[in-house]
Symmetry: C2
Subunit: 310 residues, 2 copies
């Protein structure tokens, strides 16, 4: 690392007090500073939902690091042409996603929520065990996160389907791909887990038409972006009895607005966008490794394809 | 299968209406009937908590099949000498145990119970992510069930310890064995999962002395037998703040008596002995395979060592 590397940091979360010293410690030869309008040009930007002005003013960037797995917020901005946008390609997120999804799948399949309610009311009673062959799990999105989740669910002997934009092969997972195979994927699945990137193609992908394709008694787990789900369509599918319920970690507006039907629906479990948190130390270590690699002329994983949108 | 094979069935659960036709269908050449006092001698007994009289009267048994994973109830009876007792050696139970334990481990580690309480009160708030390195999971018992559970937990990148009576090796698990290494195992673990057989040596193994060895903020998951835990000692360890809580599926008296402190303790989650249910069709298929093997002079897995007690 030469002393000439300059890094500018900007985050909508205003967490620079911990990130900047962390980046500085991981890149001792670099100059790391908080972005402010009009400051000198940097070589790399490390950002989360950055202001447009940063992207407009910083003309000498070699790469922009997004401190999260999803780049949908960044893709809505005007990006400097020819500058790669690099997302975190795991940094401890996939294991968190696997935990979140397995917990939700098992909780629904084994009716542990129902048992807890029974016990809370002093009732000792059995439910008829369900057969896992009746609960095929479909994972939408087979990137780093989706593949890890699909394999984790398969450990519990559920039939697992996967769907991705382009053809993929994952051991133990029946893989579908492309728009032409989406209906077949849905018809083969009872629990559907959304781990897609948010792009114009995937926006509102879980809607009245697609939810109707799921097997009766279906269940939705959304850990991607709120805009993947059409809220009113999900509520209607549950209230009609076609779906058994949903576990949702992400919402079109966050925090979820007071009074939204998801807050109090008896068959919907919600969490406050906590399925996979960015782990600062692992993320900083990954960004530092990637900057060193780029400075050495190497390529790095996680480079966003702007045309594809992720 | 020759037509001479006679099978007698007896279960404290009085579920013969489904088991006897099932066994008959799986063993078409056999005569399967419900045990009654004084009935003719059978070649095999298929039982759950059988009456002592059955064991005393049936003098021609070649083997006794226990329709569950635990044989502690059977070991309290006078058994005919020289007749092998055979327990189910998986029959769909290990995956259920893996599900139950992973759900409980993840729920505690990720504080999903706390998040659900927050959301139920309309509160959108984050908790500081915990580091999994601070949550080593210790599995007591490394039989078919314990090994599967240990491997399933390890999938989520927790450090995993295992303890068994005799030395074992499980990939990805730091193994301890024997009374001499029990304290070291406990000191290395924060979440302890009990999957031991109940024997005189393991009765009350989770008591004031051993619970004190667990790391501060420890957590107990018992899916074996209620008698493994000294109830008052567990409650005291939680109420003192040394332990964070417990998830319990089994109890000294079942159903758990009304008024027992476990029913309403804020840090104890209870379920009604449902962690791994005997799946009838898989169990019947396994018993039928084993009878055919024994008739052919072969040995079968799951034969109980009476001296060892499991």
């Amino acid at each position: 690392m030469t002393t000439s590397v300059r890094i500018t940091y900007s985050s909508a979360d205003q967490d620079e007090a911990s990130w900047i010293p962390g980046l500085q410690a991981a890149l001792p030869g670099a100059e790391v500073s908080l972005w402010q309008p009009g400051v000198p040009q940097a070589d790399y930007a490390v950002v989360w939902k950055p202001p447009q002005q940063l992207l407009d003013e910083q003309r000498g960037l070699k790469a922009i690091f997004n401190t999260g797995a999803g780049v949908d917020a960044m893709m809505k901005l005007r990006l400097p042409s020819g500058v790669p946008v690099i997302r975190l390609d795991d940094a401890g997120m996939s294991v968190q996603m696997a935990e979140y999804v397995c917990h939700a799948v098992i909780r629904h399949f084994r009716e542990f929520d129902g048992y807890e309610a029974d016990m809370a009311s002093g009732k000792w009673s059995f439910r008829k065990p369900r057969s896992r062959i009746d609960y095929p799990v479909g994972v939408l999105g087979l990137g780093v996160l989706g593949e890890r989740v699909a394999k984790a669910v398969a450990q519990f002997d559920f039939p697992v389907n996967g769907w991705s934009r382009s053809p993929k092969t994952v051991e133990g997972v029946q893989c579908f791909h492309g728009a032409a195979q989406l209906d077949a994927f849905l018809a083969a699945s009872r629990i559907v887990v959304c781990l897609l990137p948010l792009t114009p193609e995937t926006d509102s992908i879980l809607n009245a038409r697609t939810l109707a394709q799921l097997r009766p008694g279906g269940y939705v787990i959304n850990v991607a972006r709120g805009a993947h789900v059409v809220d009113a369509d999900l509520l209607a599918a549950i209230d009609s009895g076609h779906l058994a319920g949903a576990t949702l970690d992400v919402f079109r507006v966050e925090p979820l607005p007071k009074g939204h039907a998801f807050w109090s629906h008896p068959h919907i479990t919600i969490t406050p966008h906590t399925s996979a948190r960015t782990l600062r130390s692992e993320s900083i270590a990954q960004i530092a490794r990637k900057i060193a690699a780029l400075q050495g002329g190497q390529t790095v994983a996680g480079t966003v394809d702007a045309a594809r949108g992720y």
